[in-house]
Symmetry: C2
Subunit: 427 residues, 2 copies
């Protein structure tokens, strides 16, 4: 992949709040804020470096608590301008942290079990959080088109965010995507381009387009805006801790696609500790994959530091990244915190979706089935401690993956009479 | 329909907060709180009578503002116990009031246009608000099964609420409902019974079951718990005014199915005025129907006081009630406030869904297409004043009515090359 250097003219005047520079995760090389994602020195991934030095802990806490009921309450900790909440965007986040007592009973958890339910976001997945960051970066860099490669959730999130913000959008998807997903992405009125090929082909094409004059003025949320985009996942960490009363959970179970979400949640927790907003005490992070796409889980169990790519084959399409960019960092986090990475089969995913729905009334996407299924498996294996406060992420909405539970149906069919009702054994 | 008298033993000990009694909307006859819905004197509909006499305005306002980010911030104004927020329920409400500046520009509204977006509720429709009230009534009356007749949104809302609250649920639907809707309702694990017949047959059967020993201990949210259930719609009025800074909007556009939502929103606004929480000034309420099911709109235009039933034929299934119980009350409200009732065709509904999505990134259910479409029509006709603050309700989620916009699709299909991209005219 070609490494881009900073190309826009706006570098010196960029106001992205506390974001000070981009810093290479591998070699620490720093470059000014811009639409770049790979280090020019070592090709490592760039991420945001912040200047939080001016913050007083209690003043910051009050400022957050007085903020809006969205991710923008954490604007002082994100790469966004201070007045972000006044700009047209979807105001995602501040989703419910559901105390899941029924599920806890079924799973034998006594220390408190919570579901962080991101199906409550505007387009019903956690992607609204990350796209909202990329949008602000796109505004700061003077881009006028918002773009991405996607197989589903992201396409809708980008289309909706662009519409609201007054950006043109152009989203690339494999041409043979299910009709339902096409409709969900197309309804926002942006360009939706089918690429003859698979998701890898779509990605490769997007990388080419970024280097071409035709892609000028385009912000690809998950490519040239990736360092900004990825920071959105930190807000999950902030919200969980604030909703627990400014307290770290003991254990968090997080789905793994590229692995970015898990590593950024860890980054968010570390920031809260450094800022004094939560007490510094141990927490364990657990990664969850589908068996049909389990490169990180496989590496974790084998004790490897590198992740061997896999060809995905699972119903958990939103997690089906066979070569996860942040895989090695996920292994680091799981090992450093004393967590683990585990996977579950497709039938276990479906069972877990049903379990969560029937105990808590939450209809999760397949990714939520993966985290609940892995939670159950790790509890049974004695890896998760049932006496500890545990948070499980549901990152999407069951309405988007109805096929996964398509077997679910009527309990009975009767005539509209009491006799028929009794005959069916329902009385 | 048989009129039931209060049948449970819990009457004298019922704690439903400020709810003091049931009162007949027609003759004013009062009965104690119980699972009844029709007046024993005149067969009129019963509704909740409150005792708000102890409230101090500013103390009440502070109490509300310090309350949870859900409908339970308004517990002092609802038929629920004071500690309702601690009981297991889905905590619906406090959904976004979106300032729709892009849509306002397209429609020529200069006085401020807002979309109250109830797709943000737990099961993505306003039904979570009403079911949450019925659930508390069911708890108070000692019921153990939650039930309803439904053709979609309500089935999911009841299934989810019952699961979370630890109730058994048994929901009745026409046996030939679309598979997607069946899955959405069935996933929560309750009984889902298909009735061989249409929605009218389902309703008739439910009324029979209530009078039968087999239905003992059953709370039908939209039948014997209807007086409580209906009050949930008041929370839309409360939230809109609080989110506008404790101010009445000038104009509100509300969809009409049974008409209950519109009349209860008016009731909520009147309460806020009487309690001193908003300044008493004129507001206008507008009702929105689909042309294919427009009994109230037809009556309004003809100047009638009675509503002649229609056989529904529209894509707006969630509004397709041909004989709306509260139709005459809707006519009263529209006329009393200086509003109107209007309808739009199915193609206008689809256009309006697309318009809202492309301007604000909100993907509405067909019912949202009805309100946005009627808003546009009433603005063009000079009936809605573009210089006034206007709120439009979106009561559901586009993901549940994907078929309505199924024609929406790819802008282009290309090979994964820059040449192909240029040839398609996308550069």
């Amino acid at each position: 992949m070609a490494v881009q250097t900073v190309a826009t003219s706006s570098d010196s005047t960029v106001d992205l709040g506390p974001a000070a520079a981009l810093s290479c995760r591998e070699c620490g090389h720093r470059v000014p804020l811009g639409p770049v994602f790979a280090c020019e020195e070592c090709f490592g991934p760039l991420e945001i470096a912040y200047d939080f030095s001016a913050y007083d802990t209690e003043e910051l806490r009050r400022r957050i608590e007085a903020g809006p009921a969205s991710i923008w309450r954490y604007a002082p900790l994100l790469p966004v301008p201070a007045d972000v909440a006044e700009k047209p965007n979807l105001n995602p986040g501040w989703t419910k942290l559901v105390k899941a007592d029924n599920l806890a009973r079924e799973l034998g958890v006594t220390g408190g079990l919570y579901v962080k339910d991101d199906s409550g976001n505007p387009t019903h997945s956690f992607k609204d959080r990350v796209v909202a960051q990329a949008l602000e970066a796109a505004r700061a860099f003077g881009f006028t088109t918002l773009s991405c490669s996607s197989t589903g959730n992201l396409a809708g999130a980008v289309g909706a965010a662009a519409a609201r913000a007054g950006f043109r959008s152009c989203v690339f998807i494999p041409h043979d995507l299910e009709q339902g997903k096409v409709v969900m992405a197309a309804v926002y009125g942006g360009e939706l381009v089918g690429i003859e090929g698979n998701y890898d082909d779509v990605n490769r094409f997007c990388s080419e387009l970024i280097g071409d004059p035709a892609g000028e003025g385009w912000g690809f949320v998950n490519v040239n805006l990736r360092p900004y985009y990825a920071e959105g996942s930190k807000t999950l960490a902030y919200e969980i801790c604030e909703q627990l009363g400014w307290r770290l959970p003991d254990q968090i179970v997080i789905p793994i696609a590229s692995g970015s979400q898990l590593t950024k949640i860890d980054k968010g927790l570390q920031e809260l500790i450094r800022l004094g907003l939560v007490e510094d005490r141990p927490y364990k992070i657990f990664g969850a994959q589908a068996e049909g796409c389990s490169p990180v889980s496989t590496a974790f169990k084998a004790g490897h530091d590198v992740v061997r790519p896999q060809k995905p084959d699972t119903i958990a399409k939103s997690l089906a990244i066979g070569n996860p960019a942040d895989g090695p960092y996920v292994l680091d986090v799981a090992r450093r915190t004393g967590g683990a990475v585990e996977d579950v089969t497709d039938p276990e995913i479906v069972d877990a979706i049903r379990l969560l729905a029937r105990t808590e009334g939450i209809f999760a996407e397949t990714a939520g089935g993966v985290t609940v299924g892995v939670t159950r498996k790790l509890l049974e294996a004695g890896v998760l401690d049932p006496a500890k406060t545990t948070v499980v992420l549901n990152t999407g909405d069951g309405l988007k993956t109805l096929d996964a539970v398509a077997g679910t149906g009527l309990t009975a069919t009767i005539r509209p009479t009491l006799d028929s009702f009794r005959e069916a054994g329902l009385a």
